[in-house]
């Protein structure tokens, strides 16, 4: 113990914190880092310090929607993108050519490396203490958080608590007809914490999900499998990352067949989801192989992606074949599959059922409505996915700090970020199945491109004090280059018959009939920004990643982007209209009873949010708006005297 600063001593010796984060998964890590970086004394408690940032399911990050979230986390100054970039096994840019806003990055990640890097990041953070213990009780004073009590008897005073408990609340693991109280990593789940939260007035429901088998690499015959290789030029997630690693590891692809399906069908009686053993509902978009065979009975095969779990370990993940069947049946049906005839299971697949708290109990800040200073982030809110969890963690971490400082919460809007779409969906509409992000959830998708995440969010995160200098500088460089190029290209004009003809000819582009500027040239499908720059005899300077792609999107889709922007502005006047937090719905008699109850429960912050609620009809919203326009009608519904009557 050398070089301890006074501040370190103070933190180490004190049992009092600004922020306590419960759980060190993907949400907890971001939450605690954000809070600590914003200057709060932060304690991160975890059931097992070896399980920090554990990727309990697939060894990958990103993809459509999810990749967008990771880019947004980067723009908010989060850790996930940087840690991911240090542990890339393979990177691919998906959906190129399908459109500017559905393009997304997906990467295979070295799981063990990821955990190690995140642990280092946590340890390096001066305001942050990490400690192993199980939180059993959240204590309150009045209706505000005051302390947490742990299994070891440790007691910590705190102003705020952020619960990021993942699937570790009263979880049960199912292996065929075998089931036992456990959570990923065979850790004993937390039971008393749920009781404590219920005592605060919070309710819980159950969800189920599953994870596929992991197998020995040496037991696979790769000769008969289809390789899926990385893209050597792919960027990374973080603006400060280096992009694709020099040595990428392939994934592999194979298919189930009718013999596979026969074995599975013959053993349905042993699958917990069909025997009724599991009661929680599972995600439609992440079905078990049993589900797939029942629901898509006409399909004679299903794809399986084989993904490495690490660079130098022999474990492989079989994506697409999660199952609740017993391990011996798993091995039997896997061995019917091309390339897997001799497969040896390392960890069998299992299904898991766990508690979540319906997220309609939260405010947009992710603070619970019942208890001031108590925040929820990640899977406890009914979501699934590392990226979804990390994004919520960031927001909860920032907002715990805002709460302490009595400042406005960070709430991103639906046209600003996927994070905004997700949290609004959760808080406003709740969840019927584990929630994951999709690009189609964003009604203003075209505005939410992965390459403009920094342009959308950097100023916001900088103003909250989240964004480090390096990433802020890169953002500025990108923004300035794009803006100045747009201006230069607009002012660069060519007359018909000028030197531009050769260029157009070369790219099979029709001759210019009228004077044309360079923006209009690049808008043509057959002309790219780089080919134009090349023809000009110029070379793009060294730029932050994504700059050229983003510039080109802004040029080529300018019309569409402007139209969406216009739609946002058109509804903004109504949708951004605030509803006072203390609005008395009981007095708003003309709103239907059902809607009044819902509104009372959700307490939407804006008219737009009220519009998106289940059980609130457009009629109810209209009446609500009338009350807001004429608050006088609320207090005196039967008032007699009017203002002067007009002659007409």
């Amino acid at each position: 113990m050398t070089n301890l600063t006074d501040r370190d001593k103070e933190i180490n010796s004190s049992n009092s914190y600004d922020v306590i984060v419960v759980g060190a998964g993907h949400a907890g890590c971001e939450a605690s880092l954000a809070a600590a970086r914003l200057g709060c004394r932060t304690l991160l408690l975890t059931l097992n310090l070896d399980m920090v940032a554990f990727m309990a399911c697939n060894p990958s990050l990103g993809g459509p929607g999810k990749g967008h979230l990771v880019r947004e986390i980067d723009a908010l100054g989060g850790e996930m993108p940087r840690v991911a970039d240090r542990n890339l096994l393979q990177v691919r840019l998906l959906n190129t050519g399908k459109g500017p806003a559905v393009q997304a990055l997906r990467a295979q990640i070295d799981k063990w490396g990821y955990q190690r890097s995140m642990r280092i990041a946590l340890e390096k953070e001066p305001n942050l203490i990490i400690r192993e213990d199980m939180v059993e009780e959240i204590l309150v004073e009045g209706s505000s958080v005051s302390a947490v009590l742990c299994r070891s008897g440790a007691f910590f005073k705190t102003k705020t608590a952020i619960i990021c408990s993942g699937v570790y609340l009263d979880s049960k693991i199912f292996l065929g007809d075998l089931h036992y109280a456990a959570s990923p990593g065979s850790i004993t789940p937390s039971h008393n914490l749920v009781k404590s939260l219920q005592n605060l007035g919070l309710t819980f429901e159950r969800f189920k999900t599953g994870t596929p088998p992991r197998v020995y690499k040496r037991s696979i015959d790769f000769n008969s499998l289809i390789p899926v290789n990385g893209d050597p030029r792919a960027p990374g997630f973080s603006q400060v990352g280096k992009g694709a690693p020099s040595e990428q590891i392939p994934c592999w692809m194979t298919y189930t067949n009718s013999s596979t399906h026969d074995i599975i069908r013959d053993n349905f009686s042993q699958a917990p989801i069909y025997t009724g053993l599991i009661k929680g509902s599972g995600p439609r978009y992440c079905p078990s192989i049993e589900d797939k065979i029942v629901r898509f009975a006409d399909r004679d095969r299903h794809p399986i992606f084989i993904e490495p779990e690490g660079r130098d370990i022999d474990e492989l993940y079989l994506q697409g074949i999660s199952t609740g069947l017993p391990p011996d049946i798993q091995e039997a049906f896997l061995q019917t599959i091309e390339g897997l005839q001799n497969v040896q299971i390392m960890r069998p697949a299992y299904a898991i059922e766990y508690d979540y708290a319906p997220p309609t109990q939260l405010k947009m800040s992710l603070e619970t409505k019942t208890t001031a200073g108590l925040f929820f982030a990640g899977q406890i809110n009914g979501t699934t996915g590392y990226e979804e969890a990390a994004a919520q963690g960031m927001i909860a971490g920032v907002n715990a700090v805002q709460y302490i400082n009595k400042k406005d919460a960070l709430i991103l809007k639906r046209d600003e970020a996927y994070i905004g779409v997700m949290i609004d969906d959760l808080v406003t509409r709740g969840v019927q199945e584990p929630y994951r992000i999709f690009t189609s959830r964003a009604e203003y998708r075209l505005l939410l491109r992965q390459d403009n995440a920094d342009l959308r969010l950097s100023e916001i995160s900088r103003s909250f004090g989240l964004l480090d200098d390096e990433r802020y500088r890169l953002y500025l460089a990108k923004k300035i280059y794009i803006e100045s190029e747009l201006e230069r290209l607009e002012q660069t004009r060519y007359n018909p018959g000028s030197a531009i003809e050769d260029f157009l000819n070369k790219h099979n582009s029709s001759a210019a009939k009228h004077p044309i500027n360079a923006l209009e040239l690049i808008r043509r499908p057959e002309i790219s920004y780089l080919s134009y720059l090349n023809w000009e005899g110029k070379e793009a300077p060294l730029l932050p990643q994504g700059t050229l792609n983003e510039l080109e999107s802004q040029i080529k889709y300018a019309g569409y982007i402007a139209k969406q922007q216009h739609m946002v502005e058109k509804t903004a006047r109504m949708h951004d209209k605030p509803i006072p937090e203390d609005f008395d719905y009981q007095k708003a008699k003309n709103i239907s009873r059902e809607a009044r109850q819902k509104l009372e429960q959700i307490r939407p912050g804006t008219i737009g949010q009220a519009c998106r609620m289940e059980g609130v009809s457009p009629a109810d919203v209209s009446v609500l708006m009338l009350y807001l326009e004429r608050p006088d009608t609320m207090d005196h519904p039967e008032a007699q005297e009017s203002e002067e009557m007009d002659d007409e």
Partner: protein
């Protein structure tokens, strides 16, 4: 609830009746009116006196006079909505009212939702507190019926059609979205362009058919305007006489009182037709004749279809060609090569080449020859224009028609995007179309939808 908007609507019941009112309310009501209105004593117009009737004309963008009107300006706040209000009193029936409303919309007004005037009156404090409860109740009751109201307005079959189109839009979008969000797992590979194209064509057809039905329905009720145009002395008037004489029993002929035009009414193929004989169009310096020619152009501009008359005994010249240019896109055309009893100097093949979709009929109007052929041709053209084979829907409100037109534009844009842009943009346009149609069925939360619930109040009350 966009208070910065200026709204406009026809505020008198649609149907027979000499006078109708187009009413505007909102901050731009004056500006929009002054763009269209030409006062006979124009010097007074910069600050019109409140509540006075001004006599003048409404002109369209090309400067053509649409109608003679009386206009009243009423400044805020002493008006029904407590906003600036303008009322334009028109004289020439429903078709003219629609044109004037359309001009107001093109100049920046927005079509008022049913009952929006009353809603503005309420929000702006014009309706007093004692009435608030009543207004709330009506809103409540009314809005619960919003969807039924829409259904009733459209009547079952058409509602079904719109629901079907929305389903089709979703069905077209779904595979694209799956392909975006699951790039690897998509077993079937990229959605085929040909398949999407076929789906979009079907969608275009379905929406167009409804719109055509709307127009045909309106044509049955309000009549179709057909203008006879051509150079002087090619036989336009004898053609009019020939057409009307055959319809003697149901025809009444009006002499041109205020205009140098003759009009008459006849019925062809079930369509009531307003037949307008125009002054011959030619270059002239005579001011009276010039005015007559202006009116001919306006008549041609407003007609749903044209009968262009050519003297078959003299070769085509520049003047004939210029008259051809008067035809607007989407306007029906029958070319009559008149005086077939004389020596033929106009080769029909030449005309056919230039006007592929027009019918060409040879007549000798003065002898009544070829007239029944002409009638058949006019009927065929109208059937094509107005879609004789689609079923006739019930009356569709102007608002519904506007939504359908917008929807069709989005589908057209999707088709365009399919050729030149990545599929994400195709999906975007389909999303827009779906949202747009939702404004009819009440399934999209949007400003327009919210406003719809005020439909309890008669439009423009």
């Amino acid at each position: 609830m966009n208070k910065a908007d200026t709204i406009a609507a026809i505020s008198t019941p649609l149907g027979e009746g000499g006078i109708g009112i187009v009413r505007l309310s909102g901050p731009d009501a004056y500006r929009i009116t002054l763009e269209l209105f030409e006062c006979i004593r124009s010097t007074e117009m910069s600050f019109p006196e409140p509540r006075r009737l001004y006599h003048g004309y409404i002109r369209n963008q090309e400067g053509l006079r649409i109608d003679e009107v009386l206009t009243a300006f009423m400044p805020a706040p002493h008006t029904y909505t407590r906003e600036d209000v303008v009322e334009i009193n028109c004289h020439s029936g429903i078709m003219t009212l629609r044109i004037i409303l359309k001009l107001a919309l093109e100049s920046g007004a927005r079509l008022a939702e049913p009952g929006e005037y009353t809603k503005r009156a309420f929000i702006n404090g014009r309706i007093d507190l004692s009435q608030a409860e009543a207004v709330m109740n009506i809103v409540r009751a009314r809005s619960e019926e919003a969807v039924q109201v829409a259904s009733r307005a459209l009547q079952g079959e058409l509602t079904d059609k719109i629901e079907q189109i929305r389903d089709d839009l979703l069905a077209a979008r779904a595979p694209l979205e799956a392909w975006f969000d699951y790039p690897d797992e998509h077993e079937e590979g990229a959605p085929g362009k040909d398949q999407i194209k076929a789906e979009l064509e079907q969608l275009q057809k379905k929406v167009s058919e409804i719109l055509q039905g709307v127009e045909r329905n309106r044509a049955y009720q309000e009549g179709v305007s057909v203008a006879i145009i051509g150079k002087p002395n090619v036989g336009k008037s004898s053609l009019l006489n020939a057409l009307l004489r055959q319809q003697r029993a149901i025809v009444h002929e009006l002499p041109g009182t205020t205009r140098d035009m003759l009009e008459g009414f006849m019925s062809l193929g079930g369509y009531p037709i307003r037949l307008v004989d125009t002054a011959g169009i030619q270059g002239t310096d005579d001011p009276v004749e010039k005015e007559g020619i202006e009116r001919s152009r306006l008549a041609a501009n407003q007609a749903r279809m044209l009968i262009m008359v050519i003297d078959g005994s003299t070769p085509l010249d520049e003047a004939d060609n210029e008259i051809t240019m008067l035809r607007k896109q989407n306007q029906g055309l029958v070319i009559v090569v008149n005086k077939k009893d004389l020596e033929k100097r106009v080769p029909l093949e030449d005309l056919e080449k230039i006007h592929e979709d027009a019918e060409i009929i040879e007549t000798a109007a003065i002898k009544g020859e070829g007239i029944s052929l002409l009638e058949d041709a006019v009927t065929r053209q109208l059937d094509t224009l107005l879609g004789s084979n689609s079923e006739s829907p019930a009356i569709v409100s102007l608002r519904h028609e506007e939504i359908l037109t917008e929807t069709l534009k989005y589908i057209d844009s999707a088709m365009l995007a399919l050729e030149t842009h990545p599929l994400e943009l195709v999906s975007l346009e389909l999303q827009n179309a779906w949202n747009k149609l939702g404004e009819i069925t009440g399934e999209t939360v949007s400003e327009a939808l919210l406003d719809k619930i005020f439909s309890e109040f008669c439009l423009g009350k």
